[in-house]
Symmetry: C2
Subunit: 323 residues, 2 copies
């Protein structure tokens, strides 16, 4: 197992002179802020992709982010028999989007890899070439055990450990899996053993269950004399009933009271925005009190402009709440 301290060199500090993302993640009192982006559709022209990248980087100008997250989107329709509220459209490989279009973004990037999409040869090649001075990664396993996977998650972890142990690696953590099976904190420990030095959650709407997961994770670390790794909570506003349906389709547990309230709201965007802030406040207080390093990752699961703009605003407000 490698330590995060090995990765602290080389990364540029953030624009405001804060520590670099790997340094922050190595600290026992990390409070980091990321923003998650989905690369453009694979069908866009190079000119359109460049335009999207420019608009995006311009939007992030006023934000003091510690890094970007670039998602690797997989067709997950196999894991939910219900119809997907938004159609699945293949998106550009985040590695390609980063390398070819995001040069204006100087900060660190956390590149997601849905490892089941890639052969071992493809993953190995990327691991050999990845610029560990700018890139961190999060490996994601298959969305369903029934789905054929080119590479399994444990194998991908082993490859990275063998080929590029200095690539800072994160794991996904899912509150809903904790609620269903009760052992998500133990899965986090397993990922930690395999080299994960931070965690990024799926979209969190159930704060109470998330607190239980965090608590079990924290005390499981304490019982094993392990330092708990930073847990970065993904927040996403929910600006319409269709977005709410999509969030639920993705498997996010939205508490019934909140679902009722958003469904009857005259302004679900504002209400979900305020709820995200309240959830962040509660998670901040909980983590600080427990002395668990943490952070936020703001994403917009919708591509509607108002929802993206609300996400940027949310990131801005979250920054004022973090140390």
């Amino acid at each position: 197992m490698t330590s995060v301290d090995d990765f602290a060199d080389g990364f540029p500090p953030s624009s405001s002179g804060r520590h670099s993302l790997p340094e922050l993640l190595a600290s026992a009192s990390a409070e980091v802020l990321l923003l998650g982006l989905t690369p453009p559709r694979r069908s866009v022209s190079p000119a359109e992709a460049a335009q999207i990248a420019n608009v995006t980087v311009a939007r992030l100008g006023g934000l003091d982010l510690d890094g970007l997250v670039l998602y690797d989107i997989d067709d997950e329709s196999d894991r939910n028999p219900e119809q997907r509220p938004f159609p699945y459209l293949p998106t550009m490989d985040p590695v390609v989007f980063h390398a070819e279009y995001l040069s204006a973004w100087r900060g660190p990037v956390v590149v997601y890899r849905c490892v089941g999409k890639y052969t071992e040869a493809e993953l190995s090649e990327w691991l050999h070439t990845v610029d560990t001075d700018r890139v961190l990664s999060v490996f994601v396993g298959s969305s369903s055990s029934r789905k054929p996977a080119h590479t399994r998650l444990d194998r991908a972890h082993a490859l990275r450990d063998q080929l590029r142990p200095n690539l800072p690696l994160g794991g996904v953590t899912i509150t809903e899996r904790y609620t269903r099976h009760g052992d998500e904190h133990l899965r986090m420990l397993t990922k930690q053993e395999r080299g994960c030095s931070f965690f990024i959650s799926q979209v969190v709407y159930n704060v109470d269950a998330t607190k239980s997961l965090l608590s079990d994770y924290f005390y499981a670390c304490a019982d094993r004399a392990l330092q708990p790794r930073p847990v970065i909570f993904t927040l996403s506003v929910c600006g319409s009933l269709k977005t709410l349906a999509f969030v639920k389709w993705l498997g996010v547990d939205v508490p019934r009271w909140l679902e009722n309230s958003l469904q009857r709201s005259r302004d679900p965007l504002t209400d979900s925005y305020l709820q995200c802030l309240a959830n962040a406040r509660e998670l901040i207080d909980f983590c600080r009190n427990l002395r668990l390093p943490f952070g936020f990752n703001v994403e917009s699961v919708s591509i509607r402009k108002v929802e993206i703009e609300a996400s940027v605003l949310l990131a801005k407000e979250l920054r004022t709440m973090l140390r």
Copy 2:
């Protein structure tokens, strides 16, 4: 179905000149404060019972309560195969304790009736004689469907409707039943149809699930053009690991994060006290925002003096938070 407005006469106002409990319960913006007491063990002498009553009434002196709740304790060991952390000891009938020992308490009393313990004749006799100027009641069904019941809950409701429709009647509401079956709000509506004009919860430690129950109840009323009835949340401090075990034995869902925290706390009494206050704050904000009438009932599930004293302090602090 009778309306609460029929019961507003006759009851004494509270010491501070607030409206009487039935008036408060009839109001669409009720915020009531009750304190729940378990009568003394059946084995105590009359002198001991009188002494317990005197100490109790003296303790309540500084509190501006809207009423007392007197529990009717049933041996519920049938509903949980685990060993009961505290032994079951038969307690005095709350009707007897009220009539013979609590004359120093001038305010309203909500008398619980575990209806399965009584024959129809016994219940009818009590219904004929109950002083509806001082007494409200909550009927409780059997703790288990496997347990032989002298009178079933629906039959008890029918008897009260037939014999003493002006007896203000409440129903029990249980968050954990909502979590398990999802229809507790519909059970509340059924009880409301059968004459229940308010609800008292079991001990609440899971606020998030309780908010979902309240939300479903509120909107189920709205969809049927019914006025939602006040929901009174029972709070109980948890001053030791044994009390925590008992609370869990009673079926109360304590969120895992809170259980972890209390188990590792150097001062579970203070921590659970602060948690009760935080839970109350969250429920107050939620109910006011929804315009759902509500209240609190403070009980101590333990008979340890420090826990009883903390309950009294909690009631005092809750009063300052209510309108």
